[in-house]
Structures are given as C-alpha cells and as structure tokens.
C-alpha cells in the first residue's frame, strides 16, 4: 500500500516535471522542473528497490548536473527575462506558491526514498543480531569489481577525460 | 627430258631481276651504273644460255614437229575450283618457241653488247643506265610472251612491251618530237590492243579458256561451228579482233604510222624493239592463233593487209633521205611480208622470215647506229643521219660496210642468203594460192612488186651512203677511221654471219636437202620440218580436264611424227607445189638482181637519173614523201576532226552539267542536312540532354540541399524518424 502511494507520487512528479520542462518558457523554470523530474525518478528507483541507485541519482544528478546547468545558464546569460522578473530593484520574494509546492513535493519524495531505504532500521533487533535488511550496495559493489570491472575502469578514464576536456575547452584566454 | 619450271623460268626471270636491281642501282651513277650495265648484259646472256639449252633439246633430241611441253598453274578461278572460268598461267614450249627463244635472246645479247659502245657517251650509258633498265624489262617481257601459253599472259606481256617501247622511244625526252613520237607509238598500238582484248574476251566467253592448247582442242572439237557473235561467225570475229592486235603491234597497214616516228629513240632500241622482237611479237601471235584464222576464213584478208603493207611501205621507203627512216619503212615492209605469209598459209616460211628478218634487220640497225655515231656535225653538234650528206664512207668504215652489205643482200633476196630463203618461200606459197584462185593474184602481185622495190631501195641506201663521192666534205673529213672494237664490231659480225642462208636451209628452194641427219628421219630440212602448223586434231584429248586438286599439269606429246616429204599433200599436189615454187624462186632471183641493177645504175654508176623519175611522178613523189598522207589523216581527220570536238563536248557536259548540278547540288544538299543536324543537335543534345542534366541537377539540389541545413534539431528529428521507421519496419 505504501509502495503504491509512493509510486503514484513519484510517477506523478516524473511525468509532471517532464511535461513542465518541455512546456515552460523560462529556462530557469525548466531547470527547476528538471530537478523535480529527477527527484521523481529517484523515487521511482526507490519503489523498484534500487536504493543505491536512487541515492546516486539524487547525489549526482540532482545535486551535480542540475547545479551545473544552472551555472552554465547564468554564465551565458541564457535567460533574459530572469533579470526582468526578479530584478535588483524588485524585492526578491521567497517564492511563489508554485515554488513552495514544488519544494514540498520534493521533500516528500525524498523522505519517502530515505524511509524506504532505511525501513529495516526501524525494526527492533535483538542484541547481536545484524539488521537483516539487504541493500543493493554490496551487490552492486561486488558486481562492479568482478563482472563489470572493465566498464568501471573505462568510465573512470572517461570521467578523467571529461574533466580535462571541459577544463580545456572552456579555458579563458583562447584566441579565436 | 623432264622440264620443270625452274629450268625455263630463268629465261624470263634473269632479265627481270636485272631490271629490278638496275632500277635502283643504275641511277646512282659512276661505278654503280657500270655494274648495272654489266648485270643487264650478263642476265640476257644467261637467258640465251638457257634458251640454247632448250633449243638443243628440241632440235637435236626430241625431234618431232608436234612435240611440245606445257606446264600450267591456276592463276585464278572464277568458279571456285570447277575450272569453268579459270585462267591458268603456264609455259608452252614447242619447236617454234624454242627457235624464237634462241633468236630473241641471242639477238638481244648482241644488241646489249653493242649498246655498251653506243650509249657510252650518252650521259653515262643512257642517262645513268636508264636505257639498260628498260631494255632488261623489255627482254623479260618479250621472253615471257614467247613462253606464255595463253592469250591472257600474252596480252600482259604485250602491254608491258608497249610500255617499254614508249619509255625507250622517249629516251631523249627533252625534244618535243620525241615525246610526241613515244605517245604516238603507244596510242596507235593501243587501238589494236583494245580489239585484241575484245577478241580474248569473246574467245574466253565461248570456250571458257584462253589457253592455246584449249583453243586448238576447241577448234578440233567443233566448238566454233555455228556460233555467231553479232551475226558474224565466232571464229571470224575472234580472229579479226586478235589480228587487229597484230596490225597495231606489227605496224600493218592502217596502224603503221608509229613505226617511222619510233626512230626517235636510240638506235639499239630501234634495233631490238622495232626490228627484231616487239614488232615480231604481233606476227608470233598470229602464228599461234593461225588455226583460228584458218577457221574464220580470214586468210585472204590477212594476206591483203600484209601485201598492202609490204608494197606501201616499200614505196614510201623509195623516197626517204633519212638513214634510219629507210630502215624503218623497210621493217614495215618486211612485216607485211610476214603477215602475207601468214595469210597465204605458209606458216613455216612466215616464221622463218621472222627469224631471218630479226637477224639481218637488227644487224642493219646496229650498223646504221655505228655509221651515225661516227658522223658528227660540228656545227649543230648532232650526228648526221641524212643520206644526202653521206657518201663514200666505205673507205672509212670497212667493218660496218661489210656487215651492212651482208644484211642488205639478205633483205634484198639474193640467193644463198637467209632473206632469200624465207621471202622466196613466202612468195612461192603465194603463187601457189594464186594458181588455185584468181583473187589471190592481188596479194601475190603486191608481194613481188614489193620485193623488187625492197632490193632497189636497200641498195640505193647502201650506194648513197657508202659508195660514190662524199657529198659533205666536212662531215667526211671529221669521220673517224673505224678500228675494230669488240663491243661495236663483234655483234655486227656475229649477226652478219647468220645472214647466210645455209643456216636455215640447204637448198636453193629450201626443199629436201640434208641439214640435220637423224637415224629416224633420214634426210630432211631441219627448219621446215621443225615448224609446222599446229594440227588441231592432235589436241582433242588435251583440253581442260579436272585437275583433281593438283594445280600443275604436264602435257607432253610423246608422239613423234614422221618427216612428211610432201607436207601432208598428196603426190600430185606436192609436185604442183614444187613446180610453182621453182617458178617463184627463179622470178625472185630475177627481181632481186633486177632491183640491185637498177639501184646501181641510178646511184652507183649514175647512168640513170633518179631526178627524171621524181619529176615525172612529182605528185606521187610528194605523196610518198608525206607517207600517203596517213599521218595527216590521223591527225587532222580523226583527232582534230572527231576526237577533239568529242572531247570538248564531253568536257562541256562534265563542267557545265555535272560539276554545276550534281557536285555543287550535292554540296547544297549537304549544307541543308548540316542545318538540320545543327537544329537537332541544339534541341536534343544541347538543350535537353546537356542543359537539362544541369537543370535537373540544380533542381534536385535545391530539394536535397535542405537535408544539410546545419540545424542540429533537424538532424535530431531525422535520426528519430529513421529509427522509428526502422523499428516499425521490423
């Protein structure tokens, strides 16, 4: 039951977020809606029992990529209306109903995810008994090192390449 | 004796190879020309050796009147192997051929040797040996004609000789009259040759072969009976046409105008070609096709032509003052005698006269050349040829004088010389024919009168030139004494030796005395027995047979006939002939001696005045001087009157109509077609295909260019669409 509700919430967040990303005119709003979508996807991962995946999704995607996007938008002056809407002369409000609802939604989902992950903790264990919940972390870790070590290593090199490449491409001072 | 082509072919091929080599070698000048001359003389000498070998085999070996050797190869066959319309080339040697070969080669050798003396100063042996080049070609052609076994090859060699004659007459081509003379010679003989070819073709069409052997067989088998061409019996038609070739080549009555002008050539050429061999080729041809002439009842016609020629030329020769012109007309006259002999039926005598005439006429010409060469006019720097300027030369040129007298006596018909033997026999046979029917009296009379005139004018020539007082002192003084030089005098003496009658016949009348004794045949006349009319009945089995894949056939007649004392006649006829011949011989002797006597009276002892005769027959004299106006007839009558207007008409047609309408009209048509083609090219090729291709490319380019818009979102859409399409298609 709990799972169904969480599924519905996460699904709704995903689909709604994606729809709104597609249709919103404002680029910043689109990024925020993307964030919502990513939270929803994370929740979906949680309902699937992929706890590690959900956590990684939150950390990397929601915490990394979107922030990166936002930085890039701001660096390239992507959204002109942003300056008009929330200009210096106007008092920046804390947000509208929309933003708060979105945030609350996200919190709910996140909490659900964490609760799902940490659900076995709330059981009482007799002293000396290890918690019987199984996370996928251990299995994924084992798989990474044994079966898929090649992909693991190559992805590490890829990340190195991406890091160096990104730094080199956008290096200031490169003449035309 | 088994003859192969290789034992006979050198006769023709040696001079021919000499010609080919000399054509390149002789032009070089200097030592090369000397080598070329030597090669020419050596080649003809080699041919004479082969000819002598054949002669020896025929005369001293297989002695039979109808023995012959015939070798054949197929030149081309229009029926593809069926021999229906095949032309087979080959050699045909019978007794007549053997004798003729010897005569031609030996006389030609002598003339070549003489030419080394005569042509020595004419710009290095005849303009760098050109003379010898043509002489070699000529001798090879003549020998080929003598050896040939069919009319086609006769015609080929005939024409080749005509070309050589043209080249040799025109040897001194800077003089305009020489060029005209050579063209005149060629054209006149050409007229005869056209009819000759017509005769050959008519013969070929009806018989299917042009070989002599097949001709004789066809006559024997009666292939000619009842066949007519244009209403004329075939035999007559063919015989007339072929005989017209003889008329042209042997300078008989209507076509004799070229021979006097042929004297413009060098004297050795005149000796060889226009005395001994080429003009004799016409008579040789007539002798070969004699059965056809007999079958076509042409004897009287031939005899009349011969008689007219003999007498006409003799009369013209009476009034000539040029040394060589007298000899030229005498040649025409003697050729007339030969043709008269053919017509009368004395096959043997005509051929003998051919041989003897060749020898003494060649000697006469060479001697004349020697005389002319020695007489030099210092004013005009030319050699003197006019007899009025000669006289008394016998003191200066003894050898030439001696040789010329031998030959003159021979031609005059003095007994014990060869000319008497042959000419008398002709006249005797003519007399026999005259006793049979009156119409033969005319040729006979012409012959006898001509004999008288022959003796007269020849001796006149001799007396004017060699005897008496020198008329032109300057010329006489500058004339060199004659020393014996081997290449000038040896040929003369050699030839004059053979003017004796003993070589040809042992008797006065040429009947019945031993010349060659043979165990089989007893005593007989060699020449008279050797050469006889081809008996066509012996050829019936020799006609065209299936070759069965082989392309040579050898036909030897192994039959040796017996010497017929009566020459095929019964006893009474033979006695009659013998009797008439005796009468004719006596008449000939008187005529000859009479002619010499008259000439001596007029020119040697100057008792009778020739001027008297000239004045009495003044108009006739002038006619004779103009050669019966025959040249004028041809030039003014035919050429200027007929041919040139016709030529103008044709040229008007050609230029006015053909050039203007046909040729230029064709150009107009072509130009129109060119415009059509240009329109087509512009429309279809240029506009549609070439420009159209470009336009269509550009059109599609506009459409296809949008694919590469550079817009990323377009590319993404395309990718998605293609993937979805691929998934759907699966």
């Amino acid at each position: 039951m709990f799972l169904n509700i969480m599924f519905l919430l996460a699904a709704g967040a995903t689909i709604g977020g994606s729809f709104l990303t597609a249709t919103s005119k404002n680029l910043m709003h689109a990024c925020i809606y993307l964030l919502l979508t990513l939270f929803g996807v994370s929740g979906l991962y949680a309902t699937l029992g992929a706890d590690f995946l959900a956590a990684t999704q939150l950390v990397v995607y929601a915490g990394g990529v979107v922030i990166l996007m936002l930085f890039a938008i701001m660096l390239t002056g992507g959204v002109r209306e942003f300056v008009n809407k929330f200009g210096i002369d106007k008092v920046a409000s804390m947000g509208t109903v929309k933003t708060y609802s979105i945030a609350g939604f996200m919190v709910v989902i996140m909490s659900f995810v964490i609760m799902k992950i940490l659900a076995p903790i709330f059981k009482s264990y007799a002293p000396g008994e290890l918690p019987g919940f199984s996370t996928t972390v251990e299995k994924i870790g084992t798989l990474l090192i044994t079966d898929h070590v090649l992909a693991f290593e190559i992805s590490s090199i890829l990340l190195l390449g991406a890091l160096v490449g990104a730094a080199v491409i956008s290096r200031p001072g490169r003449t035309r | 004796m088994d003859y192969t082509i290789s034992s006979v072919a050198p006769i023709v091929l040696l001079p021919f190879f000499a010609f080919v080599i000399n054509a390149f070698l002789a032009r070089k000048g200097g030592k090369a020309t000397v080598a070329a001359v030597f090669l020419a003389c050596a080649s003809i000498a080699g041919s004479s050796i082969y000819a002598l070998k054949i002669f020896k085999d025929f005369v001293f070996g297989n002695y039979a009147a109808d023995y012959y050797i015939h070798k054949v190869f197929t030149w081309f066959d229009l029926n593809g192997g069926g021999q229906e319309f095949a032309v087979n080339m080959g050699i045909y040697i019978d007794n007549m051929t053997a004798v003729m070969l010897v005569m031609v080669t030996v006389v030609a050798t002598m003339i070549h040797i003489f030419s080394t003396y005569y042509m020595h100063h004419d710009m290095n042996y005849g303009r760098n040996g050109r003379f010898f080049v043509y002489m070699s070609l000529f001798t090879s052609a003549m020998l080929g004609l003598v050896l040939s076994d069919n009319l086609f090859s006769v015609f080929i060699f005939w024409e080749l000789m005509g070309f050589c004659s043209y080249s040799l007459i025109g040897h001194y081509y800077e003089k305009e009259k020489t060029g005209n003379a050579s063209i005149k010679a060629f054209m006149t003989t050409r007229i005869g040759d056209v009819f000759f070819l017509l005769g050959i073709v008519a013969l070929w069409t009806h018989i299917g072969s042009v070989s002599f052997v097949d001709l004789y067989a066809a006559i024997a088998n009666g292939a000619f009976s009842g066949v007519t061409v244009l209403g004329i019996p075939l035999a007559t038609f063919c015989a007339v046409c072929i005989f017209l070739g003889t008329i042209g080549k042997s300078a008989q009555f209507p076509l004799n105008v070229w021979l006097p002008d042929a004297m413009n050539g060098p004297t050795p050429c005149s000796a060889l070609i226009h005395a001994a061999t080429m003009v004799a080729a016409g008579v040789y041809l007539s002798l070969r096709i004699y059965p056809l002439i007999e079958l076509g009842n042409l004897n009287y016609f031939v005899a009349c032509i011969g008689g007219i020629t003999a007498l006409g030329a003799a009369t013209i020769a009476l009034v000539q003052t040029d040394f060589k012109a007298v000899l030229a007309f005498s040649t025409i006259s003697q050729l007339g005698y030969m043709v008269l002999g053919v017509g009368v039926g004395s096959y043997n005598a005509a051929f003998m006269h051919l041989i003897t005439h060749a020898i003494f006429k060649a000697c006469l010409f060479l001697a004349a050349g020697s005389v002319i060469h020695s007489l030099h006019d210092h004013h005009t720097h030319e050699h003197v040829q006019e007899m009025p300027r000669m006289g008394g030369l016998r003191h200066k040129m003894k050898f030439t004088w001696f040789a010329m007298w031998c030959c003159t006596l021979a031609i005059a018909g003095v007994p014990f010389f060869s000319g008497f033997v042959s000419k008398d026999r002709i006249l005797g046979d003519a007399l026999v024919m005259a006793t049979h029917s009156p119409k033969w009296i005319i040729p006979t009379a012409l012959g006898f009168i001509g004999a008288f005139l022959t003796a007269f004018y020849m001796c006149r020539m001799m007396f004017l030139a060699f005897h008496g007082k020198p008329r032109d002192k300057e010329v006489y003084d500058h004339c060199h004494e004659e020393h014996f030089s081997w290449n000038r005098n040896l040929p003369l003496l050699f030839l004059s030796v053979f003017t004796l009658g003993i070589w040809f016949s042992g008797s006065l009348t040429g009947q019945g005395v031993v010349k060659v004794a043979d165990a089989h045949h007893g005593k007989y006349e060699w020449f008279q027995t050797l050469i006889q009319k081809p008996v066509v009945s012996k050829f019936t089995t020799m006609q065209r047979e299936d070759f069965s894949g082989m392309d040579t056939r050898v036909k030897n007649s192994a039959e040796k006939s017996h010497y017929d004392h009566n020459h095929g006649l019964n006893e009474e006829e033979a006695h009659h002939v013998h009797h008439v011949h005796k009468i004719g011989a006596i008449a000939s002797i008187f005529i000859a001696l009479g002619g010499i006597f008259v000439a001596a009276m007029m020119y040697l002892w100057n008792k009778w005045n020739p001027g008297f005769w000239v004045n009495t027959f003044n108009r006739y004299y002038r006619t004779l001087q103009n050669k019966y106006y025959m040249d004028d007839l041809y030039i003014k009558g035919f050429i200027q009157g007929l041919l040139i207007p016709f030529n103008n008409l044709l040229s008007r047609f050609d230029m006015g109509f053909y050039d203007k309408y046909v040729v230029d009209g064709w150009a107009v048509v072509v130009r129109y077609l060119m415009n059509v083609s240009k329109w087509f090219d512009n429309l279809f090729v240029d506009t549609i295909m070439v420009d159209g291709t470009g336009a269509s490319v550009r059109f599609f380019n506009v459409i296809l260019r949008t694919i590469q818009s550079g817009k990323i979102q377009f590319y993404i859409i395309m990718i998605i669409l293609v993937i979805f399409g691929y998934i759907l298609a699966l």
Binding site: L44, F52, M69 | -
Partner: protein, 101 residues
C-alpha cells in the same frame, strides 16, 4: 498495480518529453536538459527490467553507468556551450549552422 508496463509508460513519457525539449526549444542549454530527460528515461527502463525480469542487478549497474556518463557528458557539453557562447555571443541553436551546405 505496480507492474512493468507502468514503469515503461513512465519511461516512455519521459522520453517523449525529452525529445520534445530537444526538438522544440531553441536554447542550447535547454537542449541539454532534454538530453538529461532522455537519459533518465533509459536508466529507468533498465532499472525496471531488473526488478521484474532479471534479478541479477545488471540493470542497476547500467543505470549507474548511465548516471556517470550523463554527468561527464553534461560537464563537457556545458564546456562546449560556454565556448560556443564565447565565440558566437549567443546560445541560440540556429546560430550553430557551420555545417550548413
């Protein structure tokens, strides 16, 4: 009620949305957002299949790698965008038509 098709439908909707963003928007960074949505759709798909069909966690790993790659790609992509902005002074997609024929 929670079954494989429902996750697939969600994944499908995410994909469509991402595709729409990529095609329809004219801002390069917006297109990158679309790319992220698409990648997430794929990862969700993998994870769903692991749960319902194949239980050996290969799908989870694939999703993990997708996340890693997506992060790297976002970094490099944004670096390119910044470079593009430095050159062209614009981040409109229609300005990136150097390959136009």
């Amino acid at each position: 009620m929670i079954s494989l098709p429902s996750y697939l439908i969600i994944s499908f909707c995410l994909f469509i949305a991402g595709l729409t963003v990529m095609i329809a928007r004219k801002n390069i960074i917006a297109m990158l957002l679309g790319i992220e949505l698409i990648l997430n759709a794929a990862a969700l798909n993998f994870a769903a299949y692991t749960r319902f069909i194949n239980q050996n966690l290969d799908g989870h790993l694939m999703s993990l790698f997708i996340i890693v790659i997506a992060a790297a790609e976002a970094a490099v992509g944004l670096a390119i965008v910044i470079r593009f902005f430095q050159i062209k002074e614009s981040i409109h997609i229609d300005d990136a038509t150097e390959l136009q024929s």
